[in-house]
Amino acid sequence: MSDTHAQTVPYVRKTMVEQSPPPASEIGVVKWLRENLFSGPLNIILTLISLWVVYWVVSHVGPWLINGIWDADSLSECREIRNATMGEGTSAACFGVIGERWQQLVYGFYPKEAYWRPVVALLVFFAGLAPVLFASLPRKLLYFTMASPFLMFMLLWGGSIWGPIAVALGFGVGYAAIKLISPINGLLGTVAAIVLPILYWFLIAGPLAGAVNSVLPIGLEYIPSKDFGGFLLSSIIGVAGIFLSLPLGILLALARQSDLPIIKWCAVTFIEVIRGVPLIVWLFTASLLLNYFLPPGTNFDLMLRVIIMVTLFSAAYIAEVVRGGLAALPKGQYEGADSLGLNYWQSMQLIILPQALKISIPGIVNTFIGLFKDTTLVVFIGLFDPLGLAGAIRASTEWNGIYWELFLFIGIMFFIACFSMGRYSLYLEKKLQRDHR
């Protein structure tokens, strides 16, 4: 057959043709541009609009940033420098305000000679956090994590060293109660582990710290809460709120999922009331109304009140996130735990919560990011967070009329903190998913 075919057609190619390179429009940059940016009329319009937006922003912000003036003590001086060097009407940022006031924006009214203390506290915080975040670090470091809250308190507020130590001893009392009494009677041990430390804190801790301090006065200079401000204040409220609200939120979520109707309805009421009302209203409640709810004559630190309110507020949100995680677990996990004969707390601790918390991590981190951003609301009840300080700086005679530079600085600081938290949550999500398979 092939022979006849070969005779009927005049020419048959015997060798392969050299492969020629693909057309220029099908390779490299040109292809990428065609496929991604100019694939159709709609896409072309979108690309052009976006490029125009980018050009507009860059052409306005670029010179402003590059011409930025860093060495000026007031806005008028800034303008003079600009007019002298670049000519009138040039777009130029006045970053002198940040050069002059960044310490105030970061530390508030914290004494200058004590600026090292928050920095060391921040290092302690990261050192304490590291073994929790990264499982590859040695487990012994967790003891440092347990000590770090007291260390941070010591560094930030100062005062006698014995106060935090006396408070920390209370946890030791509770631990001892569990270790010593539980083997004899489990229930009695649990009750003692709750009641004994509380009694200790109310009755013994104060006099004990006072007594030891009078013998051996060691400590740092005391700095009152009203001197705290700026990012220092935001971070303290945020971090304290985050770490106090997590256990409370988990307990609330367990209560809401519980089979005991009274406990369940109390938790539901608490969560819905807290979530239904904006944080601002709760902060005003803390500053205006808390005195009504406490015995006459009690009065305590505004910052502590804010931390309590913020904790309760984010605990309700975390409870909802964790509840989602609890509900997402297959029923077989609960039944499996029951059939192994584990009691409620054992099954929660060993089977349910490790899985449920893993599912809820992205939600929990999102709640934390929200909480950190919401710390700016304390400006309304008279605490000086970065935005409050920005308002004060804008009202001063030197810097009256400045706003882009200040808000840019504050915005970038918040962005770095929140964005990195978000990225960590994504990293954790991916890692846990891989472990799961």
Partner: protein, 425 residues
């Protein structure tokens, strides 16, 4: 032979309350309940003692007293002789106004940004990523204050619009004025108003116009009836299609039903556009959008829009590609695939978090405080409390308002969730 004997029935012992799981739950609940009641009683007792110590009573009578303060933005009649209760309602309406406007613009921004972020166009999708991440990671309060500062500090003063060689001019054919005192936009009014309100000439020598509730009722009522008729037309087309397989062309009928009746009603009422104009040192007529409203509205929309964009993106990604391919395999056109297959499924994923974003937006509108917008927190929870000294009652009412609002919205959301739940075994 074995005989079954009943197990011995031990009598109830007190220790069973702790060790027997059948009774333990009751014990725990009773103990918890008693502890909670004791805690509440302690709080109430403290409140009573503190109120007595301050010489105050617990009384909502202040709501009917004369308020004595002015509110610069109001949707209903109000002057400073009216009661605190009326002022609270004005504030509530202002809260609802900014929440409503914010929800609409945030949804539009969010849907556009969410869809564009999924675009294959690299420039567009990365621009949207910058927008979303930028707004999600910076506090809302900063955006509100920044937009307010831009409006008040870098917008032109009304006097710049004056005179022969004015440095500024109005936008959109002399209809919109952007100044540092806010934005003025045109309003609609009627020359043949049927509302019975006295007609006033907006400018000397112009036709007198009035704008009353009855006029708007007529226009909007006609619009509602038209939309109802259009839906009926669509249903009829569906019926014909399922009976005969041919879908009648209805778009021009629908368009006519939408435009003609409303156009006729507007024509007979004499609907005209009243533009703002410079009068003295300020603009007059038109609608004045204050800086506080603009800053709050824009900041809330952009901030919530970034969250909504992520929700929309997640919802679209959640629908597997097989759904589209299966619809194409059945011969369904792309447009109808979107409408009949993809959207109904994506909506189930998108709507619940979307509604909770609306709820967040409404609660975040209490940040109005930063720019002096007169919302319910500023009237009832601010000036009224300061003037009457009724912190407890005022904060209770304020909290109750927000609580009721959010419970209503979540009840609506639960109803929606139940009605769209996937029907499974």
């Amino acid at each position: 032979m074995s005989t079954l004997t009943d197990p011995p029935k031990p009598g109830f012992r007190l220790s069973q309350l702790i060790y027997d799981t059948r009774y333990r739950s009751i014990t725990i609940q009773v103990v918890a309940f008693v502890l909670i009641l004791l805690g509440l009683a302690w709080l109430v007792n403290n409140i009573v003692n503190n109120l007595a110590a301050l010489g105050k009573d617990f009384d909502f009578g202040f709501l009917s007293q004369s308020a004595g303060y002015d509110i610069n933005q109001r949707l209903i009649e109000y002057d400073n002789q009216m009661s605190h209760g009326r002022a609270a309602i004005v504030g509530i309406l202002n809260t609802l106004l900014v929440a409503f406007l914010g929800c609409i613009t945030a949804t539009v921004i969010g849907v556009v940004a969410g869809v564009l972020r999924l675009s294959k166009n690299w420039v567009v999708s990365s621009l949207m990523a910058v927008y979303v991440e930028g707004f999600r990671n910076v506090p809302l309060l900063l955006w509100i204050i920044l937009i307010f500062a831009i409006m008040t500090e870098s917008m032109p003063h009304p006097r710049d619009f004056r005179g022969e060689n004015a440095t500024q001019s109005m936008l959109m054919g002399d209809n919109v004025a952007v100044t540092n005192r806010g934005i003025w936009i045109p309003r609609l009014a009627f020359t043949n108003s049927v509302s019975g309100q006295e007609a006033v000439a907006p400018v000397d020598g112009a036709t007198p116009v009035a704008s009353g509730g009855l006029d708007w009722l007529l226009v909007l009522g006609t619009l509602a009836i038209s939309i109802f008729a259009i839906r009926q037309l669509g249903k009829r087309a569906d019926r014909i299609q399922s009976a005969t397989g041919e879908r009648p062309t209805t778009w021009w009928q629908q368009l006519a039903i939408l435009i003609v009746p409303v156009g006729l009603v507007s024509f007979f009422l004499g609907m005209t556009i009243v533009s703002p104009y410079l009068k003295g040192f300020n603009f007059a007529e038109g609608v004045h959008l204050r800086n506080s409203l603009i800053a709050l509205w824009f900041a809330l929309s952009l901030y919530t829009g970034a969250f909504i964009a992520e929700i929309v993106r997640g919802g679209i990604l959640a629908i597997s590609k097989g759904q589209t391919e299966a619809a194409y395999a059945l011969g369904i056109q792309p447009g109808r695939t979107m409408k009949l297959v993809i959207l109904p499924q994506a909506m189930r994923v998108i709507i619940p978090p979307l509604i909770s974003q609306f709820l967040n937006l409404t609660k975040n509108s209490s940040l109005a405080l930063a720019v002096g917008y007169m919302d319910v927190r500023a009237t009832l929870g601010g000036i009224t409390i300061n003037q009457t000294g009724r912190e407890l009652e005022g904060m209770l009412l304020l909290g109750a308002f927000y609580l009721v609002l959010s419970l209503l919205i979540s009840a609506g959301m639960n109803y929606y969730n139940q009605s769209t739940q996937m029907k499974e075994r």
